[in-house]
Symmetry: C2
Subunit: 304 residues, 2 copies
């Protein structure tokens, strides 16, 4: 099966109490692809950039064997740009600007050879664009989807159509509460799964994550980070680690899904240790395995 | 070793969106003792009540083999009374009234025979009273302590003296942040342990709990409750389960502390399913073990 990642690729300006960075590689699809590439290759990136997209970023993605046949380069166009500022409490961020640029007319095209039998990762983009991707698919595919508060509030109908065709939905706790209109996360999970997703993951930041399927629940711990350097892309990184591990193992059992959640969490913990995608560019397999094992040590207990 | 529980015994009025109850058994020492009694007996209760304290409550405590030699009954006095109202979001409660009554002049006396070699559980009372208890102890004891925002803000100096002599401090996340003046809980834990406690447990409600000792951290999941009937006493119940299990096993290894945290969490999950102490009055050992195992299932994952 192929692994397709659809979403944004952008250039970020990020300011945190620890420093700032300009023209940094960003965008949901970037974080997802880069992270997934540690588990499985090639990751097929479907996105759009302008002619200003720097060569160094292409090179870094190529170095990770990310296949860019589906990356549209708009002649004379400018790449999507986002600027954000985090305050001392890194849970709060101000968006300084969002220049959609070429992303405004993004029309994701799935190459014919990848329309069947693929893992399709729908990064956080307009639900109508996610639907456009789903409409191109044929036969059996496995769809993993992200979304955000803005779409839940403004384009709910489209989002609900996406959810009907989603296998795994990955959202954070505030999104889960908003989508379900229910503050108790366990009840919220039941309501959301009735909307379509067979599997639901609720990310809770410093409190870990919950995985729901059928009657089963898995509670994953959070990695105990003393400081978070740059939280940008943490959710996308989680998604990339989860999807990459699942694609690599091709095992949809609940036991294996748990491991995928831990790999997603582990990768997100690397991501927030450095600015932009820096924390994800030079990892090795041993580091990733070590962190996986740290997660196990953190939450393991035995009966006598 | 003896197990001593020092704290409040009271009569509660509790109102939640699901109903209300009057003259219900309450108080931190009540919840702690009752819970600990499922693990170890006798639990020695050191508290004060008035002559109005109902016979049925004595009887229920006696049925759980709670030893009340240290329970002072003030002739003509009235028992401590507290009234609270929970709103639909059960994380928020209004205190309707707090009538200290006989509790205002509570002077905890540790019987001579229990001054040495005891597990001493200091429920959430004025730090100056906790100090009075500590001053009566002789030789080796193991001190487990609770506190609250009010004491952190108003009697910090006394509290710091208590912490210097505390083995295990059990507080919630907002208390940990307030006490350490640090929002990151991992950093907060380091700061608080420098104040004295060798072991620190931070309770995070629906997000579980964290246990810290030396370089080790354990992240315990929360039981996935769809509805919480009455959250009163959940923290005290956690404390009782933790301390009771530890006292029973007399094993202070980190592995065993983890189990104690899970037993504390399991007992708290029973407590909130019913009003007042009702959820703790008629449990059996199999139910408790089953819930312990549910916690393990909830958080367990393996490497391949």
């Amino acid at each position: 099966m192929d692994l397709l990642v659809v979403g944004s690729v952008g250039l970020d300006y990020v300011e945190t109490p620890f420093g700032k960075i300009e023209n940094a590689l960003g965008g949901a699809a970037t974080y997802i692809s880069l992270t997934a590439s540690y588990f499985t290759t090639p990751v097929r990136l479907i996105a759009v950039v302008g002619e200003d997209f720097p060569d160094e970023h292409y090179k870094m993605l190529e170095d990770h064997l990310i296949e860019m046949e589906g990356l549209e380069i708009v002649k004379g166009g400018k790449t999507f740009r986002w600027g954000g500022k985090y305050h001392y409490d890194l849970n709060v961020r101000d968006t300084l600007y969002t220049d959609l640029n070429v992303f405004e007319n993004f029309n994701p095209i799935i190459p014919d050879k990848h329309k069947k039998n693929s893992y399709v990762i729908l990064g956080n983009i307009l639900p109508s664009l996610q639907l456009r991707v789903l409409d191109q698919l044929e036969g059996d595919n496995f769809v993993i989807c992200d979304t955000m508060n803005l779409w839940i509030e403004t384009t709910r109908d489209d989002l609900l159509k996406v959810l009907e065709r989603t296998d795994v939905l990955i959202i954070n706790d505030s999104e889960a509460r908003l989508l379900s209109n229910e503050s108790n996360l366990i009840k919220a999970a039941t309501i959301i799964r009735e909307m379509g997703p067979k599997y639901l993951i609720i990310k809770k930041g410093e409190h870990g994550a919950l995985l729901f399927n059928g009657e089963s629940i898995f509670s994953a711990p959070a990695y105990p980070l003393e400081s978070i350097f740059d939280p940008t892309g943490a959710g996308d990184t989680f998604l990339g680690g989860f999807a990459g591990y699942l694609h690599k193992t091709e095992d949809l059992s609940f036991e294996n899904m748990k491991r995928a959640v831990i790999y997603g969490s582990a990768m997100a913990s690397f991501n927030v240790e450095k600015f932009s995608t820096k924390g994800l560019e030079e990892l090795d397999q041993l580091q990733i395995l070590d962190r996986f094992l740290e997660f196990r040590e953190l939450s393991r207990f035995d009966h006598e």
